[in-house]
Symmetry: D2
Subunit: 423 residues, 4 copies
């Protein structure tokens, strides 16, 4: 699972007014993303890694209440039980509802959660209007906005997984069916040269970043070539046809054992019909795979095996960042609530799909956790996770950064994850 | 889990008119039992043995559609996907949604299910009005009514389990808090003598009965004494205090292993506060245990251990039936939707709580499964289950019979199950 | 798993001299059965249900030490750790080594266990020679002899399972390859009529019997026909060919779920080669199945499904006993250490294979456990097990009785279990 | 589990004569380490991560047969089944016996394995004498010697785990009880400064090294201070007493979840008696922990938590290597078959215990797998494992190197693993 990491001590940009607008904007997007869902849609937890929509909507509100509003000792907690139910993993805050039981909570209901959201909206707005938040409070408010954006992506990932469990075609849809694009061969990849040497990595502190993106530091890298585009569905099909899922020599040992255990034969959500045609599940239902779209929903194990099969490798996160800085202003597809799916592969490195790297998720040198509960566990997920870079077609615009470090376990497939080759 | 068993070839009583009224009555009670539940309450599946309320409401309707309405070849199926989603375990009908995934189905929603119920209501009513059902159709309709009554009890059992998973006190309630009754010592049990000899067992065929209640046959029993009342909470507390949950010599081997494994120290739903006071969870919330109410939510393993501790044993289902015939007109508490909980122990043997017997659930001699899907698997649960007799405070009136054979695995505790001693 | 049950208070037959001879004979047979096994062969535990040969050899000796020799307060225990390591499940004796860890005990070694056996032999012999055992001691000694005979069969069952895990053909063998018998069609089964009425069941107390065989009591049975011979391999092949393992309607619900889960397609140890020929594993290695030998190593689930497929059913244990009393002097194959495998089906009901019955393993009426540790848990396995009657080709002669009640869980297949039909 | 990694294309040092002597020496040490074990001791597999001694003895011989002797097409394989049974994980060689079933193989027996070892010894010796091995063959022979040394350590680790499962004190011992050393306070740690900058990492190719130690390359590190000695038992006790195992804020998220799950309260093998005194299990039996010995048998999770508690961190493997090069000629305790346990902490960085680093086990830049089966999977374990550096008191002398990269999963505790702080 991904995990919200927390802020580093940088000043909040844009001042109070900018932040007030940003807060309103973020909160409204969550409402926008979930207001077509029924109460029923918002309850189930389709696997332990996922959470109910209702839970996400409440949890992000709890985050503001716990870390911003409760800084004011006179603030009256909305409901004590919410602290228990909607704390995700902050040990310092207290006991929590067990993660695997999130789908059993029927009360508060979705309308109650909407009331809770409105309560928190009003309280934050009042505090901002009254100038009642100190600098730390403002920083935590900004962190809360990024935190909620992160959960917007999780809401869509988790909902996609839930809807995919229904065995019908076309099955439940979140948005209207998209027109099938013309299928065309993807452009052949070319290689971008990234010169080796000492490169600067990490967030320099002149804007918001999670603390795991810092401190900025220097890394020595070799000369490297990074592919000019993502691996596509057409590429992946070649791998499938060439026995990529049957050849243990291509796989990491753990990956092969896992593949055999769970029976992977293609990316998550792919299905082959009796005529041999492949389809995939999207938030607008099942549809044929499109040759020149980036492959989606592959695990690190699969990405690594594919790269080996292709005679290449995954870039390290440092190589990736060095390459991406050259095209840092380009954007692929980011979250469009009417689409929620990448388009034809292009030249951007940020957007479309999260890209697995060869790097384990580890602290940068001199990484120091922030104070208090919000920062108590900054690094607590830095073990046996793998870094993904870029952003995806369900990442809200404004949440993407060239230094952003997303991370998932090697076997995770429900994130919008793909890959780019290096050599 | 319990399982709907099916009809034997007996004429439907009361004629078409009586059946039409009965159908309407049963359907209305399901609506009455569930109309205060939110959509959220009707979705989760708190354990594999349990099902969502929404599923129950749809499944019982599917049963009428599949086995009654579809006898008419011109009947148009309401929704093909419902056949897949709401078939419980009828292999002959076709594939089914996997039981453990019932809590992931968000569509159809609860309102859609209400529409489905109304559709089935109208179609059955039209068929009855038009005299379109043959004798077999009428029998299956009657069976469907009993089937739905059985699920009314399951709805309440499953809901109680779901609500009990919330860690708060008083926690979610299904009905308003009941007034605490005066606690008084239960009456001392006395023993009713049942003379041995050849006794008649099973349903004679002059009214509705499930096929597992027949054929009527003769069994040779010994003289036996059966306790005049159920084991109470006060009795059970003595067992707890005397180390009943710590003494392996009282337990069956499998029972002890299971007890150690899951950590049972008291019946399901019992909790002890810091002051040592015991409470239990009810459909009207958590409340202190009441001394002279029957103990509830114990497994066969616990019931068997208690009986051994008490120097007695459980009656066989044949002994139980012989004893119950003497008081067959008495009724303890049956389903009262405003109460859903037994009262002070009395003299009746039918009602209050289901009573574990010493009998394994096996076919009666010359038991023959009925024809067709509805009877295809009449005996398919007759293995490693244990017979309970009587009825409980959540059994709908009219569903109880002196020959009724309920059954659960030895470890099940979420049914309204208690016990009565014999010696 | 099977479990040693214990004696009822009957006088030991044959007096001290007969018992001394019997003890010597039983102990010698265990040595005879195990003296060709290497130390390596005696260590592994191939599944939790099975135990290492070394453990069996020590456990049966511990039984004599614990329950016979230690009646003399001056007896010095051979090794305190043996009490812990070789107690099977007697809670009253004290803590035990966890059953699943029996295969990790390397010390004492097999030679140490031989010394232990000789020590116990000498101590028992001295006690008998000195007349130091009282009546209860003599009864327990006789019980110990039967207990060791029971474990002789377990040693062979467990060893067969262990050796079968080796993937080679012919694989390790326990005894020399047997000559392949001429394959001929089995005789067609006929039906023996057993008249209904009140029949006497159980051991009358005029010879040794386990306490679960008593008390003798009366049971009312119907007229029944019992097949004149066991179901053969040829019969079973018809069931396989007819899709017996693919048709859920033939199976109990739990049985079908288990079959799907573990992938059964034939009896335990059966394998089909590329040419479609079936073989089975025996203690003399893998060899073709023989048409007119009884089918072996089927579970209760399979036996029950076969009977349904054949339009018949399994007999109850009461029907079986009534039928067997008519041919109670006949014997099929019992343990021949050079063979360990049944022969062509014949007319006997005792010997060849254990026969699954339709009866759950429950206490007989008025069953009362014996006093002390040896009897503490007489009935503790009487839950969710199924009775087998008869005896098998690895049951030592003298251990078989018409009233003998063997029992295993419905899914167990490693016993020498088959079936006979009734209707 | 650790895994044998394979050679890089470097010339074999010392020529054929040196290699012949080295081969004889390595093979003799394996015999020396195992010749006091009984057949029984060599059979069990105490957990999936571990292997039976018999298996190790055969597997290392198979490695020589498969990769050296079979280069000669005229070589007759000793036993085809051995290829199946004693291949560890080489997919290119063919199917393998399932790892969790290694403890079920009773044939070949230990004496048969000794014969196999002698056969391989003679065949290798003949080939060397005849000069029949080409350069690649000699390189593979040298690799096989290192491979067998690695398994010498595994034999001792696995045996320690097996013997520790016996619940008795003192329990089985591998070597005679060591005299208890005088307990004295460990020396206070001091800090060695390692200047930052570009450092060279990896094996330069002038002697044998596994391929995962190369290619040699440059890494940019910061200034760092590395502790002058290992963390001791006395240090660890302070951590325990200070609630180190009760404070989630000190732990990685996965580590805390695992700790709760399995109930860790102290290092593997530690036990506290009723008087509060701690002991640990050693290959010479259970004995009190010694204050100034290095702590042993801690997981990465625990090492990481300890470092956080101590206000420090683990060094990266690059920092470790830079620090170790300064004292690269010093040796702590390496394998002494009569001791198998570290001594009082000293100044050496190689020996005593393997040291967890902060580094994930990843390929070095430009790492290229070798050709053929032996190199087919060079990197296949480079995922979710953590690097340990140094060597331990059960590492055979000559097998340790300053560039050696050992690796285990974060939860592994049965290796001789400890830690050293950095800051």
């Amino acid at each position: 699972m991904t995990a919200s990491t927390t802020e580093s001590p940088r000043p909040a940009p844009g001042g109070t007014a900018g932040l007030r607008e940003r807060f309103a904007h973020v909160r409204a997007l969550t409402d926008r993303l979930t207001d077509t869902l029924s109460a029923e849609d918002q309850i189930p937890q389709s696997m332990t890694d996922a959470s109910p929509t209702k839970w996400h909507r409440a949890h992000v509100s709890w985050f503001f209440e716990e870390f911003v509003l409760r800084r004011d000792p006179s603030y009256a907690v909305y409901d004590d039980t919410f602290r228990y139910l909607f704390n995700s993993y902050y040990e310092a805050v207290g006991d929590r509802h067990p993660r695997p039981s999130r789908g059993l909570v029927t009360r508060p209901g979705v309308t109650d959660v909407t009331h809770y959201r409105r309560h928190v909206d009003a309280a934050i707005d009042s505090a901002l209007e009254a100038g009642a938040l100190d600098e730390e409070g403002l920083r935590l408010l900004e962190l809360g906005c990024h935190h909620e954006q992160q959960h917007q992506e999780l809401i869509l990932m988790d909902l996609k997984h839930l809807f995919s469990t229904m065995p019908f075609t076309p099955g439940p849809v979140y948005i209207d069916r998209l027109p099938d694009p013309p299928t065309s061969a993807p452009p052949p990849p070319t290689w971008r040269e990234v010169p080796g040497g000492i490169v600067q990595v990490g967030a320099p502190g002149d804007g918001f970043a999670y603390d795991n993106e810092g401190p900025v530091h220097q890394v020595l890298i070799d000369d490297v070539e990074v592919a000019s585009r993502l691996v596509t569905n057409a590429d992946w099909l070649e791998f499938v046809v060439d026995g990529g899922y049957r050849r243990p020599e291509l796989w990491l040992s753990d990956g092969w054992a896992h593949r055999v255990d769970v029976g992977w034969e293609a990316p998550e959500y792919w299905q082959q019909d009796d005529a041999g045609r492949w389809s995939t599940f999207t938030l607008s239902g099942r549809r044929p795979i499109v040759a020149d779209e980036p492959v989606l929903h592959v695990s690190f194990y699969e990405a690594d095996a594919y790269a080996r099969w292709a005679g290449a490798r995954l870039p390290t996160e440092f190589e990736w960042e060095a390459a991406a800085r050259a095209v840092a202003d380009d954007r692929g597809e980011l979250l469009d609530p009417k689409r929620c799916h990448p388009r034809r592969v292009g030249a951007a490195m940020i957007g479309d799909v999260w890209e697995w790297t060869a790097s384990a998720y580890l602290p940068y040198p001199r990484f120091v956790p922030a104070n208090g509960a919000v920062g108590e566990y900054n690094g607590k997920f830095m073990c046996d996770q793998h870094v993904l870079r870029g952003a995806s077609a369900v990442t809200p615009p404004g949440h993407e950064r060239v230094t952003y470090r997303n991370f998932f376990p090697a076997r995770a497939r429900w994130a919008f994850s793909g890959l780019r080759l290096a050599r």
